[in-house]
Amino acid sequence: MSDTVYQGGFTNPPQDAAHAFRATMQAMARPGTIETIKGGQAPRPVSSAAATLLLTLCDPDTGLYLAPGHDSQAMRDWVTFHTNAPLVSAEEADFALGSWQALQPLDAYKVGVPAYPDRAATLIVEMGSLTASGSKLSGPGIKDSAALNLPEIAAFQANRTLFPLGFDCFFTAGDQIAALPRSTRVEEAA
């Protein structure tokens, strides 16, 4: 096992996790808002925001799916050492990590059941960069409208029609994070 497996955890777990969780919650509550989270560092090519997100959200009860490109032995060992989250297939995943292309097909992920819509997957989508431009977002948590450079639009529109079921997404790039919950309506920019 290489050294990187054991490195990259929170240096001060209670505080770092609380800060990251607060930023994560803000991002999800205000879709399109870009927040900064730091503290985690996973083996390449995982961004530090995605690593911090995994440290904050994953534990032995949450199955994690590593999409091709992010699925390396070093990453598996890192996840196991730092979070002890079980590594599962896309169909069983509570969290999935990868690039937008690698995470396809989207119908593999859990969308919850009517009695328990919370039993849905949360996708952590690694992006090249995050900017407040591109697709137009509206819905709960957004005053008027917001903008975010989403990788595509049709998939999120289809996901919106499943509401209250559906998956939720985080987008990560470097130490930046934004979120798109299933409740947000996505349109082409005017």
Binding site: M1, D3, Y6, Q7, G9, P13, F81
Partner: protein
């Protein structure tokens, strides 16, 4: 874990046995032996990979050691991971809430990955193992002394 038992190398088996002894050893004795070791050999340089943290684990048992496993109850456990200057990473899981003990266990594990394994086994693991064996024997003897032999009188049929 048990399903992989057959695939372990001898080094892994030895490490497993060592960690098992450290995990169940008495905190005071482990620390006393560790201090004696560091006084003689010097304290190793290390960085904390995972600072000592306290949690619980579920202890499972089997009735008569053969029945279906059941959850006996949770015990408090302190764990810690360290990396030595030479890159060796050691993990310590010990019973109780003593962070120093888990740190000592992690350091012993890390040092034993190097060329000091036999010295550590002789100076620390051996005495702890002997203590544990002694306690087990003592308890078994106490239990054996109270054993009651049941027998049934043959009841006459007329």
């Amino acid at each position: 874990m048990s399903k992989n038992q057959n695939n372990l190398t001898n080094e892994q088996r030895a490490r497993q046995a060592r960690l098992s002894v450290l995990a169940t050893a008495s905190s005071d004795q482990l620390k006393a032996l560790w201090h004696r070791w560091t006084d003689a050999n010097g304290a190793p340089e290390y960085t904390l990979v995972r600072a000592p943290e306290i949690g619980t684990v579920m202890v499972r048992g089997r009735a008569g050691a053969v029945g279906a496993p059941f959850n006996l109850g949770e015990i408090t456990v302190t764990r810690c991971s360290v990396q030595l200057a030479n890159g060796a990473v050691g993990h310590g899981y010990v019973q109780g809430r003593d962070k120093d003990t888990s740190l000592a266990a992690a350091l012993i594990d890390a040092l034993a990955l190097g060329d000091q394994a036999s010295a550590l086994d002789a100076d620390i693991i051996g005495p702890l193992q002997a203590e544990a064996d002694g306690k087990a024997t003592e308890r078994a003897e106490k239990a054996a002394a109270t054993k009651v032999e049941f027998f049934t009188m043959v009841r006459g049929e007329g």
